[in-house]
């Protein structure tokens, strides 16, 4: 990255914040130029749009930002007024409210000319995007990722996905008038891979003792992994982040202020309306998050074979079997040396939460650690109780303290 040595280096977190914002301003500018702009599912293979140079924005990302800025309730209630049940995912409700209002104070984004949907997150995503497509009368591009009940993804699935990817290329070429380039596709894959590696490397510093980062930082930085994975700037920013963590680890420094007495897995999507309320009780008790599968889900590793890229998109947390999902947590928990786990029983995410009790049992059995579950929601503020959360964290800390005493004896 070019930087004048005379100037104070810009910290990675600033670079990342700017990049996340740029992804949206780029889309606005494209819209003003008369280009077609899409709304895109966060786990859709961004290699498609980046290769074609088509700008998209991410409703999930926007919904999280709206919720974090306190706009969740107003949007959810607006969607409920339109007839959407309050049982429906709050990201969907927030976005459908935004679609109806077409602007908001918390975080605006351009209206879509098409939608790109990928159900490796959930099938709720298909229903949500169907509503957008139908209400706005815009094209729907679907990359269907068959839910995998086995540990490995079979070739039939990968071939089906790759055929759809190629079909989606044609659809998007027709919609936008842009032309596909194999050369550019290769470049984008290389860059995306570089970004993913850097992101995973940065997150990997959670393994250090003490961890050079407050685990909640990952929730802030992940937006770039979602929105800009295929850009050199994102790769460079994450490489810088990794360098900073490496340096901090060497010095024993950390963005987590205070003594790190306990290390935990924070399981599930962040509780965006209550980031402070969910992080403060941890901090008060010397608990740092050193493991999460949510943030790192946006690091996709693959080789030159297109089927390998498709495979990477089948391994995201919500597209996999209970065996693989449990293994993912157990492995990161062991690697990142966790003392316990906090599990978000997230009312919005039926798929994530619907197999979590079983995963919880497997984590406890294999890692021999205590876990607590709290009720919350990724974006609807009505489904979280600060008191319950504090009590659960207290209970966890008590058991982790006893366990540490036991180990010392």
């Amino acid at each position: 990255m070019s930087q004048n040595p005379q100037e104070t280096p810009v910290p990675a977190k600033t670079l990342l914040a700017n990049l996340a914002a740029n992804a949206y301003s780029d889309a606005w500018e494209a819209k003003k130029r008369g280009e077609k702009v899409g709304w895109c599912a966060s786990n859709f293979p961004q290699e498609l749009t980046t290769t074609l140079g088509v700008k998209v924005v991410y409703p999930e990302n926007q919904a999280a930002a709206i919720a974090a800025k306190g706009g969740g309730l107003g949007h959810c209630e607006h969607a409920e007024g339109l007839g959407y049940s309050n049982d429906i995912c709050a990201y969907a409700r927030i976005n459908l409210a935004f679609m109806d209002r077409q602007s908001c104070e918390e975080m605006n984004m351009p209206m879509p000319d098409f939608v790109l949907c990928c159900n490796n997150i959930c099938n709720c995503m298909i229903k949500w995007y169907e509503s957008i497509s139908r209400e706005l009368n815009i094209p729907f591009i679907l990359l269907d990722v068959p839910y995998n009940s086995e540990f490995e993804t079979d070739d039939d699935t990968l071939e089906y996905m790759w055929a759809q990817f190629q079909y989606a290329v044609k659809q998007l070429e027709e919609i936008t008038g842009k032309k596909w380039s194999e050369k550019r596709f290769k470049e984008v894959r290389d860059i995306s891979l570089r970004t993913s590696r850097a992101w995973l490397k940065a997150a990997g510093y959670c393994q250090c003792e003490p961890s050079p980062l407050n685990g909640f930082d990952l929730f802030n930085h992940m937006a770039v992994a979602v929105c800009a994975r295929g850009t050199v700037e994102a790769a460079e920013a994450f490489e810088k982040l990794a360098e900073e963590y490496a340096q901090a680890a060497k010095e024993g420094a950390s963005t987590y202020k205070g003594e790190q007495k306990f290390r935990i897995l924070f399981e599930g999507i962040a509780c965006w309306p209550y980031l402070r309320a969910t992080s403060a009780p941890l901090k008060e008790n010397g608990v740092n998050v050193t493991a999460t599968v949510y943030a790192t889900a946006f690091g996709f590793l693959y080789d030159d074979n297109p089927l390998s890229m498709m495979r990477a998109y089948t391994h995201v947390p919500n597209a996999i079997s209970v065996e693989r999902a449990a293994r993912m947590r157990i492995d990161v928990g062991r690697r990142n040396k966790i003392d316990g786990a906090v599990i978000h029983n997230n009312r919005s995410c039926k798929l994530w939460s619907g197999i979590m009790p079983e995963i919880d049992r497997r984590i406890q059995a294999e890692l021999k650690i205590p876990t607590v579950t709290f009720d919350g929601d990724q974006a609807d503020p009505r489904n979280f109780s600060e008191e319950q959360y504090k009590t659960r964290i207290q209970a966890l800390v008590e058991v982790m303290t006893e366990n540490k005493k036991g180990k010392k004896q």
Partner: protein
């Protein structure tokens, strides 16, 4: 008791006794494969010489064991299917096919593997890009894999000729059931909403050819009776499930007859035939491609609302009752757009939330009463 009443009681007894039916056929030495909601290739089970048993949860058991696996906000349909398994009520099954057409069903499939290992889990993933060639090919391959598992369980091969014959049997059954819904609409004084559901539901719990014969006999007896003007109103039901006896009796109480339905457990099961194709596996995949207006089958056009409005117009229904299975998000997503379609068509509609764990029907009763009054 009239012949019609006696026949309807027989259907009701079957519809009400999933476990009894399972015992009856397994006692006869028949291997039985459970088929979970919403769509399963039951023709494959039949072609392997086994009985496909449609399982749509149960109102009978309180959700106790399932709560160890599911949080409260998963639909009671998925939860009660698991509850049956966890309580050992389905141990006589030789296997269970669990399609993963919704997020709750994905969880059901995983929790089944974890909690009910004694009943072999057979995974079925329908492609959602179901109309493009890669989707059709993918599903044909899925069905071939499942056929392999079923052959293993049955200890008998599924031949192409056998599968084609099975498709014929099931298409015939579908045609009979379509005919039955028309007869039920013509004779509401003979076939109540509850009886109508029992006739349909029982079809998933016994051999289809035998069921088709029973339904034909019932229809013949109905047709021998004079048609009578219906003193109440006729409605169309839409939703995933409409088999709660308490709910259906409320319709009768307010003289609402069912003119037609768009219910997951009912007409959606038989309104789309398996088309002709030299390759029977491809034929089955094409049926999935041809399904229209179902909340769990990808449809960016959302034709369902128009289809239901058309059905109401065609059958002379004066309103629509949307029976929303609580926490069933595919159905919850469909509602707002459908409501707009109904309003545009000037078709009165009411939304009623139902749940297999529901014990108090005071709210639905009030809603139905108000709706019936409104229809006049």
């Amino acid at each position: 008791m009239s012949g019609i009443e006696a026949k309807l009681q027989r259907f009701a007894a079957i519809a009400d006794d999933l476990e009894g039916q399972l015992k009856k056929y397994t006692d006869q030495g028949v291997k039985v494969i459970g088929c979970m909601p919403v769509y399963t290739p039951q023709e494959l089970v039949h072609a392997a010489g086994m009985l496909p048993l449609s399982i749509w949860g149960s109102e009978k058991y309180e959700l106790i064991e399932a709560k160890k696996y599911f949080p409260a906000y998963i639909s009671s349909l998925a939860q009660s299917c698991l509850e049956l398994g966890l309580r050992g009520r389905l141990d006589r099954l030789a296997g269970v096919i669990i399609p993963v057409l919704s997020d709750a069903l994905k969880c059901l499939s995983q929790n089944w593997k974890a909690g009910v290992p004694q009943v072999r889990h057979i995974q079925l993933v329908h492609p959602q890009n179901r109309r493009i060639e890669p989707g059709i090919v993918f599903l044909s391959k899925q069905y071939k894999k499942i056929a392999g598992v079923l052959e293993d369980i049955a200890g008998a091969p599924i031949t192409p000729a056998g599968l084609k014959k099975a498709i014929h049997v099931f298409n015939e059954h579908r045609a009979v059931m379509r005919e039955f819904t028309a007869v039920a609409a013509d004779y509401p004084h003979l076939i109540s909403p509850l009886a109508r559901n029992a006739v349909i539901k029982s079809g998933g719990l016994m051999p289809r050819a035998e069921h088709a014969r029973m339904v034909r006999e019932l229809m013949a007896e109905c047709r021998a009776e004079p048609k009578e003007p219906w003193k109440g109103r006729k409605v169309v039901l839409t939703g995933m499930l409409a088999d709660s006896p308490s709910m259906l009796r409320i319709l009768t109480d307010y003289k609402l007859a069912v003119a037609g339905d768009d219910v997951g457990q009912e007409s959606r099961q038989f309104r789309t035939d398996v088309p002709d194709d030299p390759d029977p596996y491809r034929a089955l995949a094409l049926q999935w491609a041809n399904i229209e207006g179902c909340s769990v089958a990808f449809d960016p056009e959302r034709k369902r609302g128009r289809m239901v409005a058309d059905l109401a117009a065609r059958t002379g229904a004066s309103g629509v009752i949307y029976l929303l299975t609580k926490f069933c998000d595919p159905e919850e997503f469909d509602y707002p757009i459908m409501k707009k379609e109904f309003d545009r068509a000037g078709l009165p509609s009411v939304l009623i939330e139902i749940d297999q764990q529901m014990r108090n029907y005071a709210q639905p009763r009030t809603a139905v009463q108000t709706f019936a009054d409104m229809l006049g």
